[in-house]
């Protein structure tokens, strides 16, 4: 029923590539793991946030007197309690970030914070937040890119001129910026094609949907410093952004990472943290702030809704000759949609000789978007991989053969600039083509679809410390929050490097005072980049261990080898010294055995995936059942295959939800109609089959173990794969997400 192929063809390792139990697993199956909302400090207050009921309004006044007079209320914070970064001449992005935390003169979406309260109980805090009287003057709002770009549309930011337009505009608009990627001769490209199609696509904002709502605890002292305990994808970033918003230096904050209950990009930015710190400084007591699920939906995330126009040409023998793409992405209330990444990834799978890709970042009266797993790529892939499938049908060629014919390979100049080193896109296509699933007949009443996806993966800044304890066991300490099992990979790297049992390695993610700087856990970077630094530390220590053995034996270091967890003399005349032996005598050979290293790691390996779905389609109801799903993804090297599969499966299932159900539904007054898991329906177990995984391993030449990063690419193809399956099963093409039963039924009923 399910085929899970073990990775093959890589060098043989003892620990790397094994399925060890994750170091944090025991605490998570016994309820001991401490997530963001689980810390309770003595004397702690509970907080609540007052939020805008309007999508767009001017703030006339804020009256906090009634709230402050309530018994049990210890602090109230408004924008007046934060530095005015605009007045201070701060960077535009920082001003916007500060205004996202607390509205100053206008509210820009329903849910925009205007005040926060700390009180002796959650109930009192909520009552006090509700007792804050805000007088608003409602303004007309815009909810989509079409509304926001229309002539005469209400403008959110009166000083925002579109960047990237020549000549520079003289009047403000909701288009924050325009970015272009182009190559070759578009006219010639379309002239060379035998078939040219033009299509429009729309997508809705969708939320990352992590199960743990945002939460933090702040504990400020009277010395101008504060401790912050927060669930996030990067406590160093939380420190920096919180400090900027407060007008503090980052070093005034020590941020301790909680276990994080899902992020998917959505926990890479601040929401509650400066409010909690400011409430704590005002109250002189610790303050805990926890969002409700409705607040998560209304005021965090999501990713962009979009409007895309795509024109693509192909020859009768399957050569893509040209692509023209226009995209506008909703950024929400402040600039910063992933339209740039969408432009870079749009046709990165392929060698298209002529293209023009134009993207607009557009503000509107919705929550500011946050990163969501391969930000931008799934949105544009929905369009590109859909139109490619229509072209395949038009020229009657197999969709995998067409992709193979146009596939980017080593040496291809990527559509976004650099030349690809060794990559594994072709291998993912071949894995699907050769799978039992693809070779099996399509059952009656089913539709089968294929799509591919790309994500850059990134490296970045990481620091790690490795200690060898006096008993010869190893501690690995990093500053990269673990959102998908990365501690297991760090432990496997150390076990492999030292040649010791993985059970002898412990892992820790340390606070900002204890470990050096780490970038956020994002871009599928941790196993690659933080892993690389852990490996570097281990190798430095192994060198040190050889030196210590050489000192013990009074020989040259070159006469000492490190083999399977022990130092051996090349001559074989000395009794080998194990890690435990060397650790026990460390004080006689130079002191404790410990290394800290940092790096800005380069050499990330591009990630590709090809996916295959069978839908059972009920054309009386429009309901599609995912009958079978196979995903092939190039991991470079799967350090812990179970968690690689887990990333692939999780990404696919988020994509399935995006394809069929998930969307922000706004009322005409600009308020969100479905801020709950009941009405914003993410996939549940009974919606799904097993997700079959084929882990492809084409090593990244720039990583010691060949790692590429696997966290994100999996979410890129599912919407297009499902749309392609629907067309092949019903003859109906849906160009708008979500492809809900009612939309499909409507299309089936109008099919000619």
């Amino acid at each position: 029923m399910t085929m899970t192929e073990e990775p093959t063809g890589a060098p043989s390792y003892k620990w790397v590539g094994s399925r060890s139990v994750r170091p944090d697993g025991l605490d998570k199956v016994t309820g001991k793991a401490q997530f963001g909302a689980d810390l309770k400090l003595p004397n702690m207050l509970e907080g609540a946030v007052t939020r805008s009921p309007h999508a767009h309004a001017k703030i006339i006044s804020i009256d906090t007197t009634a709230a402050e007079a309530m018994a049990g209320v210890h602090a109230v914070v408004t924008a007046a309690d934060l530095p005015d970064l605009a007045e201070a001449g701060a960077k535009t992005d920082d001003i916007f970030m500060s205004e996202k935390i607390l509205a100053r003169s206008k509210v820009l979406w329903e849910g925009h914070p205007v005040a926060a309260v700390a009180a002796t109980s959650r109930e009192i805090a909520r009552a006090a937040a509700a007792a804050i009287v805000v007088e608003y003057e409602p303004l007309p709002h815009v909810l989509t890119v079409t509304e926001a770009l229309a002539d005469g549309a209400p403008v959110l930011h009166e000083s925002m001129m579109t960047r990237g337009v020549d000549p520079a505009p003289e009047t403000a608009s909701n288009a924050a910026s325009r970015a272009v990627h182009e190559r070759g001769d578009l006219d010639k490209g379309f002239a060379d094609a035998d078939v040219v199609l033009e299509r429009e696509y729309t997508t809705k904002p969708v939320h990352q949907g992590y199960i743990e709502p945002h939460a933090c605890v702040a504990d400020a002292g009277q010395d101008g410093r504060a401790n912050l305990f927060v669930s996030s994808q990067g406590h160093f970033s939380m420190r920096a952004m919180t400090a900027t918003t407060l007008g503090w230096d980052p070093s005034q904050l020590n941020v301790t990472p909680a276990e994080i209950g899902g992020g998917f990009g959505g926990k890479t930015t601040i929401y509650l943290e400066p409010l909690a710190v400011r409430l704590s400084t005002k109250a002189g007591r610790p303050v805990r702030l926890v969002m409700g699920r409705d607040e998560v939906f209304k005021a965090t995330g999501p990713t962009s809704g979009s409007h895309m126009k795509i024109k693509m040409g192909i020859t009768n023998d399957g050569q893509i000759t040209a692509a023209q793409i226009w995209m506008a992405f909703e950024a929400g209330a402040f600039p910063g949609s992933p339209v740039g990444a969408a432009g870079m990834t749009a046709i990165a799978c392929y060698t298209v000789p002529n293209f023009f890709i134009e993207g607009f970042d557009v503000v509107c009266n919705k929550p500011k978007v946050a990163a969501y797993r391969a930000p931008g790529a799934p949105i544009i892939a929905y369009g590109v991989e859909s139109i490619i499938d229509e072209l395949c049908l038009a020229i009657d060629m197999d969709p995998i053969d067409v992709r193979l014919k146009n596939a980017a390979v080593e040496g291809t100049q990527a559509s976004y600039g650099p030349e690809f080193p060794r990559i594994g896109f072709v291998e993912t296509l071949e894995a699907i083509r050769d799978s039992e699933h693809y070779r099996s007949p399509v059952p009656e009443g089913y539709g089968r679809g294929v799509a591919s996806g790309f994500w850059f993966n990134i490296g970045g800044n990481s620091t790690a410390t490795v200690h060898v304890n006096e008993d010869g066991n190893v501690n690995v300490i990093t500053g990269s929050p673990d959102i998908g099992g990365s501690r297991a990979s760090m432990a496997l790297f150390a076990a492999e490097e030292f040649g010791i049992d993985v059970g002898r390695v412990s892992t820790k993610i340390a606070d900002t005072q204890t470990i050096g700087f780490n970038d956020v856990t994002g871009g599928s970077r941790v196993t690659l980049a933080t892993g690389k630094v852990v490996i570097d530390c281990c190798r430095t220590i192994k060198q040190d261990l050889r030196r210590r053995a050489a000192k013990t034996w009074d020989c040259e270091i070159d006469d000492v080898e490190w083999v399977e967890g022990q130092a051996q003399h090349a001559s074989g005349t000395e009794t080998p010294l194990s890690l435990a032996d060397l650790a026990a005598k460390a004080s006689r050979t130079g002191g404790p055995i410990s290394v800290t290293q940092s790096d800005n790691v380069r050499g990330a390996g591009a990630g590709f995936t090809t996916q295959l779905v069978d839908l059972e389609i009920d054309d009386e109801t429009g309901v599609c059942r995912v009958a079978r799903y196979t995903t092939a993804q190039d991991a470079g090297k799967a350090i812990h295959p179970s968690y690689v599969e887990g990333q692939m499966q999780g990404g696919v299932v988020q994509g399935i939800g995006w394809a069929f159900n998930e969307e922000y539904i706004h009322r005409t007054d600009g308020t969100l109609d479905n801020p709950s898991f009941l009405d914003y329906r993410i996939p549940v177990a009974s919606d799904l089959p097993m997700i079959e995984t084929i882990v492809v391993e084409v090593p990244n030449p720039n990583h010691p173990y060949g790692v590429r990063g696997v966290g994100e690419a999996g979410i890129v193809p599912p919407m297009a794969a499902i749309g392609n399956a629907i067309e092949r099963g019903t003859g109906c093409r849906l160009n708008d997400l979500p492809m809900s039963p009612i939309r499909l039924l409507d299309a089936i009923n109008h099919r000619h």
Partner: protein, 166 residues
């Protein structure tokens, strides 16, 4: 504000606490009893992260008023393992990589226990429907379903062994 004195059994111990009127059992378990393994994902009964067993039925603690726990027998994640041994479900989740972030895991384990207590040999489809009230955003459910089926096999084998011994 008047408070209600609630007596119940939690994880085998007699527990009593004072409940605010209108407080959910979820908040009481976390704030008054200190059982932080019970997680809040939504507060509206949609995600299952706060699943507990109340008189052997899987229940969202957020949908129960705390005084309703009076006289009831409650099991939370903190009560699932023996002192020196994990429950087979916990062991299978660990070994089968059936968790990523882990915040939904306590709820899944208790919902799965309720299933296996009532239906020791479920089919894959029965497991999927029994766990449909628990949301996981990380795993795509694949490894969770496998872990529950694996645990069912282990429990069945243990029961057979114990049966033979008798």
């Amino acid at each position: 504000m008047s408070r209600t004195h609630v007596n119940c059994e939690i994880n085998g111990d007699h527990v009593d606490f004072l409940s605010e009127s209108g407080a959910s059992l979820l908040n009481a378990l976390r704030d008054d009893v200190g059982l932080m393994g019970v997680k809040e994902g939504c507060g509206t009964g949609d995600c299952g992260a706060c699943s507990i067993l109340m008189d052997d039925r899987v229940t969202c603690a957020c949908l129960i008023f705390a005084p309703e726990a009076e006289g009831r027998t409650i099991v939370t994640i903190e009560g699932l393992a023996a002192a020196d041994e994990l429950h087979p479900l916990q062991q299978c989740f660990l070994e089968g990589a059936a968790l990523q972030c882990g915040v939904c895991t306590p709820g899944f384990l208790l919902a799965a226990k309720a299933l296996l207590d009532n239906n020791p040999t479920p089919t894959e489809t029965e497991v999927r429907y029994a766990l449909a009230g628990n949301l996981c955003r990380c795993t795509g459910y694949d490894k969770i379903i496998r872990a529950v089926l694996e645990a069912a096999d282990i429990l069945a084998a243990n029961a057979a062994t114990n049966g033979d011994a008798k």
